[in-house]
């Protein structure tokens, strides 16, 4: 339980409580350290993961996160996929607007997470659940 997770294959964490959000954050931090992300990039990625994991919990009604290492040949990075079977996002553009929230938050989570990572992709639709994929690349090998 307390050993370092093996990251050669993607690690899956189910998200059903606040404690799971913390677990996602810790796993992402370990992974970020493993591929030598800079301290700033580590913090950005962990923060983005924290936002998206909480979205999965609060708006998606729970789901999972898959954390894996990606290698483009030139550099390494971390890719995280958050997925839930929730109601989905009806208006993605609106959801990405700063200050817009359908819950009680600051309305910066989704848009903020997009600015914190290198690649950001959302697959969603009303009643289809939501799948957010983010990638952060290390600056150099």
């Amino acid at each position: 339980m307390t050993g370092r997770p093996d990251l050669s294959t993607p690690q899956v964490v189910t998200i059903n409580s606040d404690a799971d959000v913390v677990r996602v954050r810790q796993l992402v931090r370990t992974a970020a350290v493993a591929v030598s992300l800079s301290l700033v990039d580590q913090t950005k990625l962990v923060t983005a993961a924290s936002e998206l994991a909480r979205n999965t919990l609060v708006y998606g009604g729970g789901g999972g996160a898959e954390v894996g290492v990606v290698d483009s040949g030139r550099r390494k990075g971390i890719r995280i996929v958050f997925s839930d079977e929730g109601p989905g996002i009806a208006n993605l553009e609106l959801a990405l607007t700063d200050g817009y929230t359908s819950g009680g938050g600051l309305g910066l989570g989704l848009g903020g997470a997009r600015r914190l990572v290198d690649e950001f992709e959302v697959q969603t639709g009303t009643g289809q659940g939501t799948r957010v994929t983010i990638t952060k690349w290390a600056r150099s090998m």
């Binding site: 301290l39 700033v40 950005k44 962990v46 938050g105 910066l108 997470a113």
Partner: protein, 291 residues
């Protein structure tokens, strides 16, 4: 595995007829696994209690650990599991106290001689002991969970001290994850301390918070607003470079809330502001006298 009333009474008779030797051997085997951490006398007493409770449960006829008749036995096992869990024994060391009865029975029944009667009795007893063992294990696990939950709660309380830094300045150093439950404790503590000390300044230090996401920021903002309503000004300190960059990228605005890189900067800022307002009041008073 259910056992018949006849088997129960045979097991009970066995416990009676070899009481002294069983307790002796039972204690011996248990002592070997928990050596040094419990005295022989303590162990013997526990074993005697278990022996007595098991004997009583078997005397009620068909043995069933879940039945009302076995209430005293369950209570004895639960109590033992709980005390072992609290004393830091492992699950194995706890379960051994029950399973040791099997070792004792092997000796007493002389099972190895191959006597059919003895073997049948041993199989019965073994089934009962397994039930007791599983029950003990379950109770042990539950006790550990309760222990962890208690500790988590204690940690919640422990990790949020509000300290008085200077006359009129209190600080709350935040360490670790700031979830909703902790944020609530933090806010209550801070507001109460502001009332108790009559301090006009509070410093919220987030040096020990590994990541500031929108939820953490929202909790901090709410605390600051609440403190303002009570007439106190908050300064957020301990904003490291990586946190600053992340906050900017997220788009969080701290507005007119004073933020500083270190706790020392925040204290200096608070003291200077207190000094300025005092001087301001002083010169205003002098001005009034001269006029």
């Amino acid at each position: 595995m259910a056992i018949t009333a006849d088997e129960s009474s045979r097991f009970a008779a066995l416990l009676d007829s070899h009481a002294a030797r069983l307790v002796e051997r039972w204690t011996e085997v248990t002592a070997a696994s928990v050596r040094g951490r419990m005295t022989e006398a303590e162990l013997r007493q526990q074993v005697q209690e278990l022996h007595r409770a098991l004997r009583a449960a078997l005397a009620e006829g068909q043995f069933d650990l879940a039945a009302d008749a076995s209430g005293a036995l369950r209570a004895t096992l639960s109590e033992m599991s709980r005390s072992r869990a609290q004393q830091g024994f492992t699950a194995t060391e706890t379960a051994v106290s029950v399973f040791a009865l099997k070792d004792a029975l092997v000796d007493v029944l002389d099972v190895r001689s191959g006597d059919q009667r003895a073997l049948a009795d041993y199989v019965t007893a073994s089934g009962v002991v397994d039930q007791l063992g599983l029950f003990t294990f379950e109770r042990y696990a539950r006790s550990r969970e309760e222990l962890l939950a208690d500790q988590a709660e204690q940690l919640l309380e422990l990790s949020t001290p509000v300290v008085k830094l200077w006359e009129g300045v209190v600080a709350i150093p935040l360490v670790g994850t700031l979830d909703s439950a902790r944020a609530q404790v933090v806010m209550e503590r801070l507001l109460q301390t502001l009332v108790d000390t009559g301090s006009p300044y509070a410093i919220i230090d987030i040096t020990g918070v590994p990541a500031v996401d929108t939820q953490v920021a929202q909790h901090i903002l709410k605390t600051v607003v609440a403190a303002r309503l009570m007439g106190a000004e908050c300064i957020v300190s301990g904003i490291r470079p990586q946190i600053a960059q992340t906050i900017v990228a997220l788009g969080i605005e701290f507005g007119d809330i004073a933020t500083k890189a270190t706790l020392a900067d925040a204290l200096r800022h608070a003291l200077r502001t207190i000094e300025q307002s005092r001087r301001g009041n002083g010169s205003a008073a002098r001005g009034a006298r001269e006029a």
